[in-house]
Each structure stands twice: as structure tokens, then as C-alpha cells.
């Protein structure tokens, strides 16, 4: 049971934005801009950052749903997603992406944890200003989304099929859910 009176049977953040659509609109817009619109990182790479941070925050709803979206977007390379979440040393990542995920992991702990050395390491692997910026902001945004979803105890489905379907929908983009009456 969620801590506040959100619509029954609606999972995670979807139930929260139906409770308060006014704040839901910029929240969905932020997800769409950061994860789908203009960036030197691919949508798959950005979903991977989102899933990685959500996993470290123990937010099962966000981790499962963004991992599902990342698997859809990686296509035949989808093993990367499960490797990053379960056995990062084995994951077939570019050195640049590995350095950016390291920065995202630092952001998950605290902004202050990100060191000049972390940034220099990413730059040595070819990361641009915009890639570093987008990585930090995506990681910071999921520190918000994860806290919103779990801080109000929104419903977390346990059936993997639910997340698979969610991933297919999310791969196409983030659209504010509408109340069905």
C-alpha cells in the first residue's frame, strides 16, 4: 500500500503522477529530454546509466523498468545490461562508458564524491563535456526519481512480464499517463 491515496493497481511513478499531474508533467518531460532527446550518448547508454543508479539506490521499480527499456534499446547487445547490474567487471563496455558509469556511481553516493581524477579518467577515454554533463544530470535525476517512488511506497510489481511490457513502451519515449475513468 502506498503511503498516500494514489490510484489502485497502477505501479510506481505512474501512480504518483496520476495523483499530482501538475508536477508529473515536468517530471515526464525531464525523463524524455534526458533519456531520449539530443545527447551524444545513445538512448540505450542513457537507460543503462538510469538502471545502474536505480540499482545502487535499491529502487526495484526504477531498476527493473529502466533495465527493461535498456534491453529493448540495446537489441542483440542486451547482455550488457544484465552484466552491468550483476557482474560489472565482465560487461562488454567501451572504456568511455565504463568511466561514465563510474562517475554516475559516485553521483549516486553524493555530488561531492565526484573527483577531478574521475573526470580526467573519462576525458582520457574521449568523453566530452556534454557526455560528462548528461551523465551527472541523469544520475542526479534518478536519485530524485528513486526517492520519489520509494519514499511514498508506490506499488512495485514483481512479475517480470510487467517490466518487459513497460520496457517496450518506455523504449518509444516518456508520455505522461492519463487518468482512465
Amino acid at each position: 500500500m502506498a503511503y498516500i491515496n494514489v490510484p489502485e493497481g497502477v505501479p510506481g511513478i505512474r501512480s504518483l503522477v496520476l495523483f499530482r499531474p501538475e508536477t508529473g508533467k515536468p517530471l515526464y518531460q525531464l525523463a524524455q529530454v534526458l533519456l531520449r532527446e539530443d545527447s551524444p550518448l545513445t538512448p540505450a547508454e542513457r537507460e543503462l546509466i538510469a538502471a545502474h543508479v536505480s540499482s545502487r539506490n535499491n529502487c526495484r521499480f526504477c531498476m527493473e523498468s529502466h533495465a527493461a527499456a535498456a534491453r529493448c534499446l540495446y537489441g542483440t547487445d542486451k547482455q550488457i545490461v544484465d552484466d552491468v547490474l550483476n557482474a560489472p567487471s565482465r560487461a562488454d563496455l567501451s572504456p568511455k562508458m565504463r568511466a561514465l558509469l563510474h562517475i554516475a556511481g559516485k553521483v549516486q553516493l553524493s555530488g561531492k564524491q565526484v573527483t577531478p581524477e574521475d573526470i580526467a579518467a573519462a576525458r582520457e577515454q574521449g568523453a566530452s563535456d556534454r557526455e560528462i554533463h548528461d551523465t551527472v544530470l541523469i544520475a542526479a535525476a534518478f536519485c530524485m526519481f528513486n526517492r520519489y517512488v520509494d519514499g511514498l511506497a508506490s506499488w512495485t510489481p514483481t512479475d517480470p512480464a510487467v517490466y518487459e511490457e513497460m520496457g517496450l513502451r518506455m523504449a518509444k519515449g516518456y508520455v505522461l499517463p492519463k487518468q482512465t475513468t
Partner: protein, 194 residues
């Protein structure tokens, strides 16, 4: 030095929101709704939530900026300082104490918010909307604090800068200034906040 090149005359969050305006716009809109939009919590009370979270995240820029805004809106400086030291003994209502406790738990983790903390807020008269907004404001400042410090943005040390910024936040809220921020550029690279 910030980790990415930002406008020299825009310290803290402002330089970041100007660096990438398409992500800045929804962040600004969300903040304006949560901290200044229609609510049964006063703007001053909502700034206290922002300050407590920023202070616990040790984000100096956000703490100083929202302390200044709260001081102006609450028309005193004692309340913010007391809340930062100890929520339980601060001169605020019992309901606000329970909400500030929830915000402090959100700062740690979403999972740290207990059913007991929510029950205490409801018993003190907090509505679902107030609880919702408290959690989302606290979560939003966990974004802001990480964004500002994760890219090592410049943090001014002159208290006058934050007093000016507090005035700007009272007058204009969190919307982008209609004229932009070029008027804050100075010839000698000193910082202006309004």
C-alpha cells in the same frame, strides 16, 4: 573550477541550467510548482524543506541560497538555523516537524521513509498532498545538490551574493528571468546576483 566550462558570471545551479536549457526548463518548472505554486504549505515552509535537505547533503551553494530565501520569506534568521541544528526543538509547528523528518529520511534514501514517519505526519494533521510535496521537494533537492556538486560548480563565499540571490528567488521564483542573465556580467568579474 567547474568540471565543464560554464559562464563565469553564473555560479552554482544557474550556470548549469543555462548550459543545457532544454533540461533546465522542466527542472525550473517543477521547482516553481513545488516551491511557489498553490499549496497549503507556505513558501517559507517549503524553502525550509529545501534547506534541510541541502544542508544534510552538505551542498554549500544550495544551503546558502535556500537559507537566504527562507530567511526573507519567514522574516527571521533564527528559524532556519534552528531547523538545521535540530528539527525537534526548532520553533515550527508540530506538523512541519513531522514533514521535515520525512524530508530528512528521503535525503538518506526513499526506502528510509517508514510507515511510522508517515503516520506521525498524518496524526499531526498533514494531508496526502503535503506529504507528497514534501517527499518530492526533498527528492528534487537530492537531484539539485548532486548536479551542483557533481560538476564542481563555483560556490561564492561572499554572504552578500546569497542575500541578493534570496531576493531574486523571492521576487522571481524559479522561472528563467525573461531577459536572461547577461545583465549579471561585470567588467571586473565580480559576481552580481540580482
Amino acid at each position: 573550477m567547474s568540471y565543464i566550462p560554464l559562464e563565469q558570471h553564473l555560479p552554482g545551479i544557474t550556470g548549469l541550467l543555462e548550459y543545457r536549457k532544454d533540461s533546465g526548463a522542466p527542472i525550473r518548472e517543477l521547482t516553481q510548482i513545488l516551491l511557489r505554486g498553490e499549496s497549503t504549505l507556505t513558501a517559507g515552509e517549503r524553502e525550509l524543506i529545501a534547506t534541510v535537505v541541502s544542508s544534510r547533503n552538505e551542498c554549500r551553494f544550495c544551503t546558502a541560497a535556500h537559507t537566504a530565501a527562507a530567511n526573507i520569506l519567514l522574516e527571521n534568521t533564527d528559524t532556519v538555523e534552528a531547523v538545521k541544528q535540530d528539527i525537534d526543538t526548532a520553533p515550527v509547528s508540530d506538523k512541519l516537524k513531522t514533514l521535515l523528518h520525512i524530508a530528512a529520511l528521503v535525503q538518506i534514501s526513499g526506502k528510509a521513509v517508514t510507515a511510522e514517519a508517515i503516520t506521525a505526519a498524518k496524526q499531526a494533521g498533514a494531508t496526502d498532498r503535503e506529504i507528497h510535496d514534501t517527499v518530492l521537494i526533498a527528492a528534487l533537492f537530492c537531484l539539485y545538490n548532486r548536479y551542483v556538486d557533481g560538476l564542481a560548480t563555483m560556490t561564492p563565499t561572499d554572504p552578500a551574493f546569497y542575500e541578493g540571490l534570496g531576493q531574486r528567488l523571492k521576487q522571481h521564483g524559479y522561472n528563467r528571468l525573461p531577459q536572461g542573465y547577461d545583465h549579471l556580467k561585470t567588467k571586473d568579474n565580480t559576481l552580481k546576483s540580482i
